[in-house]
Amino acid sequence: MPPLLNIENLHIAYGAIQALKGVSLTLEEGEIVTVLGANGAGKSTLMEAISGLVPIRKGSITFGGEVLNKKPAYEIVVRGISLSPEGRRVFPTLTVDENLNLGAYTRRSRKREVLEAKERVFTLFPILKERNRQLAGTLSGGEQQMLAIGRALMSSPRILLLDEPSLGLAPILVKQIFDIIREINQQGTSILLVEQNAHKALGVARRGYVLENGTISTAGSSAELKSDPKVQEAYLGGSALKQKHPPVPSPD
């Protein structure tokens, strides 16, 4: 069976600047796959390309056997790929409820489905139910991140794209967010996770890719990546950790 999401030789450029230079990756149904990389490696560009927010120069993105290259962003959401963008990007002047309603925008007036999706989001993030009538701008960073993920779930996607969900959050919140990511996955949503927090990301993901300067430099299962000396050096705190825990730095 072909993978749910198949990206082949993807090239993206902003003017003369090449952001992605031939990225290939796959996401199977039910998997969590993580993409690691430093600032400017092209991680967010990759997410935006899948969502149809940036034009594709070369290569292809196939989702469930259908090529998404030329599809506008709103049609990609309808097909079942939803992005929780980097930096949360919730609407500060709207209430939590209104923010969630935007996530269900593609469902038009199918009220029952919208209510069910909202119920699911509230089960995952009970705090959002408490804060339902509050303006999103008054939420804490962690709550805003939860809202961003919740909003992306409102379209009941088959693939959830998470762009740096741990960005700027306190460690305890990071743990909570990652627990929920695992739970969302267990409920049957495939997840592509972009992270700088390699420990946590490899902890939940089955497989991972390392993106460097617009190309995939390393790929493998989470265990392989964790033990890869180059990955350790660059993303897992390298030499300092090796002295303390000689073989493999254990996550969590």
Binding site: P72, N101, N132, Q134, G137, R151, S155
Partner: protein
């Protein structure tokens, strides 16, 4: 934090209804107490209110900078002028046709540039407005009469030899159109389309990533805004009985922009206040006409300092020029 339940929703609604009725009553009664001169001023207040409402769709609801709105106004006015003088089509029949012409023009002109953002779009629309004006001056196909414009436009005929030809009648015509537009726009604000517009204004990427068809909703805003400006152009042309390019300068576009900013982006009562400010202020201070720009500029500056959201900002999702996060704790209940 518990959300604040709005207490006594009913009493608020009734007092609001009473206020609205008082305003409508005042508008209905006004011409019986005012001289023709002041009725005419109120007519132009209505024209500017309509223009403000039309730009408010583009600038206020979607946050698209459009400094060429006078171009759409001109298209509406000239469509009426030309079709009426050359073919004798009645003015009121031309009302929807002018709206359609302006809307079509907006669709054709804005389609290729709709992806531009912020100040880039501003420059393009500014250029568009100027091109329309210059084209009118150059008298293409001998239609627009060049710098002199088109003369001898009819008054709107109601049939049976009845014409809208006095100041009072024009006053009622424009304000009935404004009232109907407001009713339509309020419905639009609370609709799926209105919400999509506001999402785009607040964060285009997030809106797009959640399945809002950004490009087409932006285009729709331009088309509807232009159509309403075209309606204003139609009434304007028949009131003045002539149109000339100098009525549709860059300055007119600036005034419309100011109307929306003064009132508060996306706020319908705000637009009325802004239009009142723009149209009544110069009349009241006519003796100081030579200082008009000075006063006007200072007023804009003071407003940006003390009321950055406008005089009557929209309650929900009001856009302010300072960061919303700077003033937390607001709850729209």
């Amino acid at each position: 934090m518990e959300s604040i339940k709005p207490s006594g929703i009913k009493s608020i609604a009734t007092s609001q209804r009473a206020q609205i009725l008082i305003v409508i009553g005042a508008f209905m009664a006004y011409p019986f107490f005012a001289s023709d001169y002041f009725i005419d001023i109120a007519f132009f207040f209505g024209i500017y209110a309509l223009l403000g409402l039309s730009l408010n769709i583009v600038l206020g609801e979607v946050g698209l900078f459009d400094l060429g709105h006078a171009g759409f106004y001109a298209i509406g006015a000239y469509t009426t002028a030309i079709l009426n003088t050359k073919f004798g089509i009645p003015i009121l029949v031309l009302l929807p046709i002018s709206a359609l012409a302006a809307a079509l023009f907006a669709y054709i002109v804005c389609s290729p540039v709709i992806h531009l953002q912020g100040d880039y779009l501003l420059i393009v629309t500014l250029g568009m407005g100027e091109i329309v004006r210059l084209a009118l001056i150059n008298n293409p196909f001998d239609l627009t009469g060049g710098p002199n414009g088109v003369f001898g436009i009819d008054f709107p005929s109601l049939g049976g030899g009845l014409f809208i030809d006095s100041s009072i009648e024009f006053y009622y015509l424009i304000w009935i159109i404004v009232a109907l537009s407001i009713l339509g726009l309020i419905r639009l604000q609370n609709s799926r389309i209105g919400r999509a517009w506001n999402y785009i204004r607040e964060d285009e990427t997030a809106a797009s990533a959640n399945g809002v068809d950004v490009k087409n909703y932006k285009l729709l805003a331009f088309v509807l805004g232009a159509a309403l400006a075209g309606v204003a152009g139609n009434v304007y042309a028949s009131k003045l009985m002539c149109v000339s390019p100098e009525s549709f300068t860059f300055w007119e576009s600036c005034l419309m922009f100011c109307i929306v900013l003064i009132g508060g982006m996306g706020s319908i009562p705000g637009v009325l206040i802004g239009a009142a400010f723009i149209s009544l202020f110069p009349e009241i201070f006519r003796p100081f006409a030579m200082y008009r720009m000075l006063v006007f500029g200072s007023a804009m500056m003071l407003m940006m300092m003390f009321r950055p959201g406008g005089f009557w900002p929209r309650k929900r999702g009001a856009v302010e020029f300072r960061s919303i996060l700077g003033a937390p704790g607001r709850d729209d209940g």
